[in-house]
């Protein structure tokens, strides 16, 4: 169970191979990669800067993994979140989950993203032709997160 906050890019294929090397009982690996979009809420985005709260970030991401492990059967989980300045199509975040069977891996990967979006202390600032502005939190993300309290 690993958490990394870094400015460097990541390679999903490499991380999947690290999971595969460690053991032979993995049946399913699900990954989520979040990317910088060149358009957000109607604004052209030329650049994105990510700020975070060192110390709390790692703790909150580790807590998200712990909650997932308590609820589903998974083998391994990894979260990599980049900070600093990124361009459109750059990778921002990776959530990688392995399990014996696919249902658990899918559920945990989506669960972790929904929690990360609403609990992990990262903030995005967009550069647009109209200047820089902080990205507003979306109520859709709160809704996505609340689903997990209702599901068994």
């Amino acid at each position: 169970m690993t958490v990394r906050v870094q400015t460097e890019d990541f390679d999903v294929g490499f991380e999947i191979n690290q999971f595969r090397k460690a053991r032979n009982d993995i049946g399913a690996i699900v990954s989520f990669v979040g990317l910088v979009r060149d358009l957000n809420d109607g604004d052209a985005v030329s650049q994105l800067t990510l700020e975070h709260y060192p110390g709390m970030t790692e703790k909150s991401l580790a807590a998200i993994i712990s909650q997932a492990k308590a609820r589903w059967n998974i083998i391994e989980a990894l979260i990599i979140h980049r900070v600093g300045t990124l361009q459109p199509s750059d990778q921002i975040v990776l959530v990688l989950v392995s399990s014996a069977h696919r249902g658990d891996a899918f559920a945990v990967c989506e669960f972790m993203m929904d929690y990360l979006k609403t609990e992990a202390p990262f903030w995005k600032k967009e550069a647009t032709p109209q200047g820089e502005h902080w990205v507003e939190a979306k109520s859709a993300d709160d809704v996505a997160r609340e689903r997990w309290n209702m599901k068994k």
């Binding site: 909150s60 992990a120 202390p121 902080w134 939190a137």
Partner: protein, 85 residues
């Protein structure tokens, strides 16, 4: 009591503070009381901490609500709703 304060994102920019050490009167302190205390520093402090913007707080790296108690030595942070991922 003494606490350490952190501000992030929009708050950090507006308040022009990223961190500070603060000595507070030795009485029961909550997140809401601390916000009200800081709001007295001036317009921008009041707007950012007690205005229309949603402000989240963390004590010692845990998300908390306005009623959470603050103790001597705590690390308290104020920031907008998170937008990572």
């Amino acid at each position: 009591m003494k606490i350490k304060l952190f501000y992030f994102a929009r708050l950090k920019e507006a308040l022009k503070y990223s961190t500070e050490d603060l000595e507070l009167p030795d009485e029961s302190m909550t997140v809401l009381k601390l916000k009200a205390y800081l709001a007295k520093r001036g317009d921008v402090w009041g707007q950012m901490l007690m205005g229309k913007l949603k402000v989240r707080a963390a004590i010692n790296h845990e998300l908390v609500d306005d009623n959470a108690a603050i103790a001597d030595g705590d690390e308290v942070a104020f920031f907008p709703p998170v937008t990572g991922g």
